[in-house]
Symmetry: none
Subunit: 175 residues, 4 copies
DNA sequence: AATGAATGAGTCTTCATTCAT
DNA sequence: TATGAATGAAGACTCATTCAT
């Protein structure tokens, strides 16, 4: 699977270079590989995006699981959200995946479930200490964070901490 | 200018139907109008989007100016943000315009300035009552609201009030 | 006929500016006149080109008639061809008209006949002195000169006199 | 590369039939080939024209190199120019290429240089016998011949030999 | 498994021309 | 006479996808 790796590397390079179109033809050319090869590994653009997300997903899930174990659950949540936000800012396509509903049966949806599960645990713990509203669940937090990512991205990036702070305060129980 | 209006109506319909591509050819066909006619009125997709935004912008600016006069500024802000959010949910392209930096010299950027000005006034008043953080300005609020719109849209829409509530609480001065 | 003149002026300007497309729409706009107005005066691009040629034609015919009266017919021919060449280099569209067969019945074809008639006289006189081949007629000379114009134009213009000299020597009876 | 050849054949046919537009879409249809295939082989009209020219260029360069070896250089020149003229009359687009300056770096400009080099040799030899003017170079001859081609084409073709004769006599040193 | 030539539907855009006002 | 909005045929070009080798 040397080719698969090469394709992924090129695709990542394209995204990093600001080209989000991920045209399989172009990637094949850059990877020095036939178009057909790309299509065997990734039947469509989405499959490629998911594959690209996998590594990020693993990182993020790891971080989430670590956060559950944090002494102060709200602090753990803060750390986790900051980590996730940076990940998304760095990889817009990963942000798309996190924001999407996640097609049933896809690899990504499994990882998403794993992620949400960890976050659910974290939220439950935080709720016990009265640090988080009753009604928000892991999916809400994920979506709201994706929203914050859009907000940060539409500005110059300097407002990252402010916007994240707004989200975190907003998640607390209303006074 | 019967045709111009017809084109705008069709374009709005397309957006409402979930097709955000705004293909000028398709719009021409649906509007029962020659392609050339569409191109005469709107030389490119962007011009069309801006025209579509204009009406929404006027509504929104009006609402913002009304909100400044509200007895309770924070209640005014809540009402305004809910109004804006609904507008954006209804018209994704308008959301894009609100989220964009606003190209210099465009019609949209003038209206954006007008909007931000009104919101600035509202925020200033709210700050006097201690209802809003010091550090957020009108642009921040606009961007954050666009973020919330993404969050609501990526879900099933049922979380609109919750997500807006999170934003509003988050805007208050941190405890 | 204020408009007609205005249109012609603009068209000349376009040609002078290197735009040979003579799009009637564009000319109308530049002339501050409706497209329809242009179309009434000049039903198509060709009619406009012919009208533009008229003035040049008159000049050229005048020059040709003067040349017939020259003391030395070959010198007269040389002067005439140089004049015509400069005219064509200055106005590529006029060159096109001179090179074309000239649609029957058009205004241009009448003037072309007038021109050729004068040149025929000049050639006849020159032939009497043995300065010109037997077999070339006015039409040949016109076409060959158009050819020289292409040659000059495809270079940098500096070869004008050389190429004209080649033509003139070539017109002499072969040794 | 069966398709490439087919495309070239069709393109040649179009030109021969008097259609100089070389529309890639039309050629694809006539060649019974997808548009994309044509675009793959020839990204634009110019690339196609150059490819079409290549074969003609080779013929012509061969002929020129042969002419250099002719016993009588002026006779060789006559034969070469007649050959080239027929080639151009047969293929107007090739005439365009020969007449153009030749974009730097293009395949055509390399072949043009080769052609001009051979003609330069021929002219040098002819000059030694006093058969050709001092001041004309290979480029001049090429341009003048293109001019003659225009002249022949604008007439009915019957004047080919006459016009070529005019050029050849004109190239001799003036008396 | 790998290749990459081929496909062609789809989209964008221009511009000569008409015609109701 | 003049206007200019409207037309739509025509042409250029892209790119996701297939399939014979």
């Amino acid at each position: 699977m040397r080719n698969r790796a090469r394709i992924l590397r090129i695709a990542r390079g394209q995204l990093a270079a600001g080209d989000r179109s991920l045209q399989l033809n172009a990637i094949a050319r850059l990877a020095g590989v036939g178009v057909g090869t790309v299509y065997r590994h990734f039947p469509n653009r989405h499959a490629l995006v998911e594959a690209l997300s996998e590594e990020r997903f693993r990182e993020l899930i790891g971080e989430a699981q670590a956060a559950v174990a944090a002494e102060d659950p709200f602090a753990g949540l803060r750390r986790l959200l900051r980590f996730a936000l940076d990940l998304m800012l760095d990889a817009p396509d990963f942000a798309d995946v996190l924001e999407s509903a996640g097609g049933v049966g896809s690899q990504a949806s499994k990882m998403m479930a794993e992620l949400d599960e960890a976050v659910t645990g974290l939220l439950d713990r935080a709720r016990l200490t009265g640090a988080v509203r009753d009604c928000v669940d892991a999916e809400d937090v994920r979506r709201l964070l994706c929203g914050v990512q859009h907000a940060v991205r539409s500005g110059d990036g300097a407002r990252r901490d402010l916007y994240l702070g707004v989200l975190l305060e907003g998640l607390r129980p209303p006074r």
